[in-house]
């Protein structure tokens, strides 16, 4: 019954988008941990990591795109979209590649590498937008914070995936 399957999939993916948007909005309310632009926990990425391992690549990409587009509308900051998309796309591609060759128990390392790729994409976008390489000075701090945040979101996604196989 392919029809029923499709509807079920659609509903599942929509719930994932909703959950990641809620986490995105909650995180916006939290004060920044460090005053470096671009550093944050990335709670919404828990859903991305989870989706990458549970669903097909194109489905994970759809969830990510819907989250980013709606999220920037909710935040009222469309300029931030450039950073989210460039970072997120790189992160997503990296994690999809790793998820193809590993099992679920590698979620934490995959998430760490994803976070690092996200930071690299963000910085590249910032260099392009700001028209200067000065922002690269932030990269070591971003990467270090990304390792910690990535391990955290990966651990959360792993915990969820054990309960929702």
């Amino acid at each position: 019954m392919p029809h029923k399957q499709n509807t079920r999939r659609l509903a599942e993916l929509s719930v994932l988008v909703a959950v990641s948007l809620i986490m995105f909005v909650i995180e916006m309310q939290l004060p920044p941990v460090v005053p470096v632009p671009g550093v944050k926990l990335g709670l919404a990425n828990i859903v991305t990591v989870f989706a990458v391992y549970k669903y097909a690549p194109h489905e994970a990409i759809l969830v990510f795109l819907a989250r980013v587009l709606l999220g920037s509308l909710f935040a009222g900051n469309v300029q931030a979209l450039i950073f989210s998309i460039s970072g997120g796309a790189l992160c997503l591609l990296g994690m999809i590649a790793i998820s193809r060759i590993t099992d679920k128990d590698m979620m934490i390392p995959a998430s760490v590498i994803g976070a690092v790729l996200h930071n690299i994409g963000q910085t590249a976008a910032a260099v392009f937008v700001m028209n200067t390489t000065a922002v690269i000075a932030y990269l070591p701090y971003l990467l270090f914070a990304g390792c910690i945040a990535g391990a955290f979101t990966g651990a959360c996604a792993y915990a969820v995936s054990k309960r929702i196989p």
């Binding site: 470096v36 632009p37 390392p109 995959a110 760490v112 937008v129 700001m130 200067t132 000065a134 390792c147």
Partner: protein, 118 residues
């Protein structure tokens, strides 16, 4: 094998980025500061010689007000949505610049300020 490689890459990234952060954080910087707006340097200021004053930088009608006070420089007001530049506070010696992404403003210590001062 693949697992070990991936985990090793993660640990490597963590250690290297941590080391680099620490290195840049501890590295002393000169006292010459540059204010860059949309890729062009507007001001080059020697903080040791600058009197206390206010500088207003405009980008597409949005303003950042930069204050110099007793050898410190910081953004005192900005009409951007996130105010990250204000929260960064005074420009520290660590080499972390003050950045306002929406208004494309950067305040940083000039690279190699000691060598090309003459």
């Amino acid at each position: 094998m693949k697992r070990r490689l991936i985990i090793a890459v993660c640990i490597g990234l963590f250690v290297i980025s941590g080391g680099l952060s620490l290195y840049f954080y501890l590295r002393p910087a000169g006292r010459v500061v540059e204010i860059i707006s949309d890729g062009t340097t507007l001001y080059e200021l020697d903080l040791d010689k600058e009197p206390d004053r206010e500088i207003t930088v405009e980008y597409k009608g949005r303003k950042n007000i930069i204050k110099i006070e007793k050898g410190d420089i910081y953004v005192s007001a900005a009409d951007c949505p996130d105010h990250t530049c204000m929260k960064t506070g005074k420009l520290s010696q660590s080499g972390v610049p003050i950045v306002c992404l929406p208004n494309k403003l950067i305040i940083r210590y000039k690279e190699g300020a000691d060598t090309d001062a003459a």
